[in-house]
């Protein structure tokens, strides 16, 4: 039987833990709201850009641009977006497992699969198991469009230099606070937009259709990258909030159980002492 003192100590320690998890939950909830707003705000831009791109790529030979051209796929780059910090349930682990599964499934198909990680956790998990060529960390604290654009440009340059022939991005898409969906998207080559059935409107292009496409395609990659990062960030906070919420609940439950044990032990001690006193008194009497 544990002593009273040791039970009391455990209760205090669990209480402290609960305090921390509660605080983390609050912080995540606040951050989640902002991240969620950002995701929603970025959506119209991404949608409009896709629309413009669609119109532009219409009646245009799709092989004419290096970012559109389908070449033989030898080397593949997989971008894995995870968080920098842990304590968010299965958020990172699930994504890393999905990345490993992807590598396993496609190993025969391509000669090389390289991985680029964004976020510290992904790098820690994958660096000893897979071929991680590049990794970035600590970009989520100050996530803005410029960061995403720089990342995208680097990916595009690598692609144009034929370091890899296909680029995928794997991230947690934000569905709701409770659920994230692991999503795999192809970044490069740009999947040719579906051709519209009706005859496209004849546009006046300034400077020219080709020149516009030249600028717009990289832009689209940047936006996709930005969106993936935003979604991942929102998912991370959602996952952490849920994880911390259940951690707090578990802590409360544990405190309840421990308090019960403590009280029982206390009661037993009191009974024992009483019995000793009474039996002592009896013996004097007799």
């Amino acid at each position: 039987m544990a002593t009273l003192k040791s039970i009391k100590k455990r209760i205090t320690s669990v209480k402290n833990t609960r305090q921390i998890t509660k605080a983390m939950k609050m912080v995540s909830a606040a951050k989640l709201r902002r991240a969620q707003e950002n995701v929603v705000a970025a959506r119209p831009y991404a949608r409009k850009l896709a629309e413009v791109l669609e119109k532009l790529a219409d009646n245009q030979q799709t092989d004419s641009h290096p970012l559109l051209a389908q070449r033989d796929i030898e080397k593949v780059l997989l971008i894995v977006v995870t968080s920098d910090r842990g304590l968010c349930g299965g958020f990172n682990a699930n994504l890393c497992k999905a990345a490993e599964r992807f590598v396993k499934e496609n190993r025969d198909q391509y000669s090389e699969i390289n991985i680029m990680t964004i976020g510290r956790k992904g790098n820690e998990f994958l660096k000893n198991r897979q071929k991680v060529v590049k990794s970035y960390a600590n970009i989520f604290g100050t996530l803005n469009y410029q960061t995403a654009a720089l990342l995208a440009q680097e990916v595009i340059q690598g692609y144009l230099a034929e370091e890899y022939d296909k680029v995928y991005i794997l991230f947690n898409a934000f569905k709701s606070v409770m659920t994230q969906e692991i999503t795999l998207e192809q970044l490069l080559p740009v999947a040719p937009p579906e051709q519209a059935e009706e005859t496209p409107t004849q546009y006046i292009y300034e400077p020219s259709q080709g020149a516009l496409l030249d600028e717009l395609l990289p832009k689209n990659i940047e936006v996709q990258m930005f969106r993936a990062l935003l979604e991942s960030l929102a998912s991370e906070h959602g996952a952490r909030m849920t994880a911390m919420d259940s951690a707090s609940k578990n802590a409360s439950e544990m405190i309840g159980k421990l308090t019960l044990i403590y009280n029982r032990a206390r009661q037993a001690a009191i009974t024992k002492e009483l019995m000793e006193i009474i039996s002592g008194a009896e013996s004097i009497k007799g």
Partner: protein, 138 residues
């Protein structure tokens, strides 16, 4: 004519405008242009520059930074990286940025990698100051 242009201006951070306007002017890669209702389908890229629109007699100005401009069926879609309304611009900060960019440019030669970065910063700052000035006058 009662017809109006429907304008939507979006940046990666938010939807800045969604309004009906009478006329819109912007700076394209090939120069400034204006669009009135009934314009033919048109698609162009924008430079760092000024975008202004007329609505109910008033003229509104925005400083925009690099993007696209599309007209179709009297609907104008503008996609830009940043857009600031004239009254949102902090003139002091814009002027400070202008000064910084000028200083930095003096030290560099056009061959430097950084040169273009600061040149763009200078352009942005100039436009911001210009647009902000208009807000005060109005």
């Amino acid at each position: 004519m009662a017809e109006k242009l429907k304008v939507e201006l979006v940046t990666p951070y938010k939807k800045v405008l969604s309004e009906e306007v009478d006329e819109i002017t912007a700076t394209g890669t090939l120069g400034e242009f204006g669009v009135l209702p009934g314009h033919a389908p048109f698609l162009t890229s924008l430079k760092i520059g000024e975008l202004s629109y007329k609505k109910e007699g008033g003229i509104f100005n925005l400083a925009v930074n690099w993007g696209y401009f599309e007209v179709e069926n009297d609907t104008v879609t503008v996609l830009v990286e940043t857009a600031e309304r004239a009254d949102e611009i902090d003139l002091e900060r814009a002027k400070a940025a202008l000064g910084r960019a000028e200083e930095a440019l003096k030290k560099l030669t056009p061959e430097d990698k950084q040169y273009r970065v600061y040149e763009a910063a200078l352009e942005r700052a100039l436009i911001r100051v210009q647009v902000a000035g208009k807000a005060v006058r109005r």
